[in-house]
C-alpha cells in the first residue's frame, strides 16, 4: 500500500449542493455528482493531505468502516476520477492554484 497525495483539478467548477459535491468540467462540460463518501474525499483532496490520512482520519471515522475496505474503495474511487481528469495524484505533496475548498453551507 503506497501512499499518495491527491489534488483537485483547476479546470473544474464545483459546489456542494444539498450534501453532494457537483463537479462540472470547464473543458468538456462533463458533469459528476459525488455521494457522501466521494464528497468527503473531494473536499479533503488539497494536495497536501496524504490519501492514508484521508482514509484514516475522515472516511473510517465518519463512516465506521474498516481500514482495508475503505482504502480499497477510496483507491478505486480516486483512480476513476484521475482517469476523468477530475483529480490528480502524486507521490509528493502538491500545491493547487485554487484555494482550499471552503466549508460549504449544506443547505
Amino acid at each position: 500500500m503506497t501512499d499518495i497525495f491527491v489534488a483537485r483539478s483547476d479546470r473544474l467548477a464545483a459546489r456542494k449542493v444539498a450534501g453532494e459535491v457537483v463537479i462540472l468540467s470547464a473543458d468538456d462540460s462533463s458533469l459528476y455528482v459525488l455521494n457522501g463518501v466521494g464528497s468527503a474525499v473531494w473536499e479533503a483532496a488539497d494536495g497536501r493531505t496524504p490519501l492514508s490520512a484521508i482514509v484514516d482520519d475522515i472516511i473510517c471515522r465518519a463512516y465506521n468502516v474498516d481500514r482495508e475496505s475503505a482504502w480499497r474503495d477510496v483507491e478505486e474511487f480516486v483512480a476513476g476520477l484521475v482517469s476523468y481528469g477530475v483529480l490528480r495524484t502524486s507521490p509528493e505533496a502538491m500545491s493547487i492554484d485554487l484555494p482550499d475548498h471552503r466549508p460549504s453551507v449544506d443547505i
Partner: protein
Amino acid sequence: MSDLMQYVWDRALDSHVPLSVHFDLTYRCNERCVHCYLDHDDHGEMTTPEVTDVLDQLAAAGTLFLTFSGGEILLRKDLFELVAYARALQFDVKLKTNGILIGAREAARIRELGVRQLQISIYSHRPEVHDAITKVPGSLARSLAAIRFLSAQGVRVMIANVLMRQNASDYPGVRALATELGVDCTIDPTITPKMDGDTSIVALRLPAPQLLRVFTDRSLVGDDFMTAPSMEIDRETLDGRPCSAGHTFCYISPYGDVYPCVQFPLPSGNLRQQRFERIWFESPQLGDVRSIRVRDLPTCSSCGHVSTCTRCPGLAYMEGNMRGPSSADCEKSLLRTGAAAAGVHPGRGTGSS
C-alpha cells in the same frame, strides 16, 4: 438536459439553493442595439471589492452556474480579475459579450481562466443587417474575429441569434455561419420591454407570419411542429412551478439589485443594503414568486396549452400581473399549434403582427 443535470436541479429546488445566477457587471455598452432593454448610462456600478464580496456570498449560498453579462462586460477594466476570482471560488463561468474587444490576447486569457462558454450575439450573416441593428459599423466583422480567436484557443462559443423584424429571414445564414465557424447557435425570438417599463421596442418582435415560419421550420424544430396540445390538464402540471426564476435562479444588476430573473424586473432587495442570503430567503417579493403554482394562475391554469406553454412570468409581470398570461407566449402557443390559447385566439393577434 441530462438526467444527472436534472437531478442536480431537482436537489437545488428541494433545498432552495440559488444554483444559477445571471450577474450583469455593467449596463455600459459599445453597441447600441435597436432592441436592447437597458439604459446604458452608469448609475453607480458595484466596485471590484463589492462584486467579489457578492461572489463570496453566492458561493456560500451554493451557486454553481454564474453568467457574467451586461452591457458589454469587457468595458469593465476589472473583468478578468473578477473572472479569476469567480473561478478561484469554483464557479462554472459563462460570459455573454458582443466580442468586439476580444483579440488573441483576451481569448488566451479566457481559455486560461477556465471559462466554460462564451455567448456572442450575431444578428445576421450580412454586415449591413447586423451592423444596422448594433449601430456600429464593422461590428459583425469584429464579433466574428472574436469567435475565431476564441475557437483557436479551444473555448466553446455559442452564437446567440435574436430574431426581430430587421433580421427575420437571416437565421439560416447565421446557422450556416455557425457551422462554418464550428460553434453552436441558438435562436431566440424574444424581445422584452425595457427595464424601465418602456414597451416601444416590443414593436420589433417578429410579426406572426414570420414567427410561424420559424416555428414550422423543420431544420429548427424537427418533426415536433404543429403538435396540437393535449387539452387534458393533469394534476402534476397544476402543482408545478411556473419556472426557475426565484427558485433556483436569480438576477443581479450592476447596482446590486436582486431580481427573480433578468426578464423579471421585480425589485427584491439590494446587495449594498442586505446580504444575499437574507434577500434570497427573506425577501417578501421572492417569497411571493415562490408561492405561485400553476394552479394559482387564473387564466393559464385552465388553458389547454398549460403543460407545454413557454409562459414567462417576468413578461407577464411586465404586462401588469405576474400571475397573468404573457401575451407573447400565448401567441407563440397559438402559432405553434394552431389551437386557441387562453390569452389570444386565432385571427386575433396580440399587437405584434
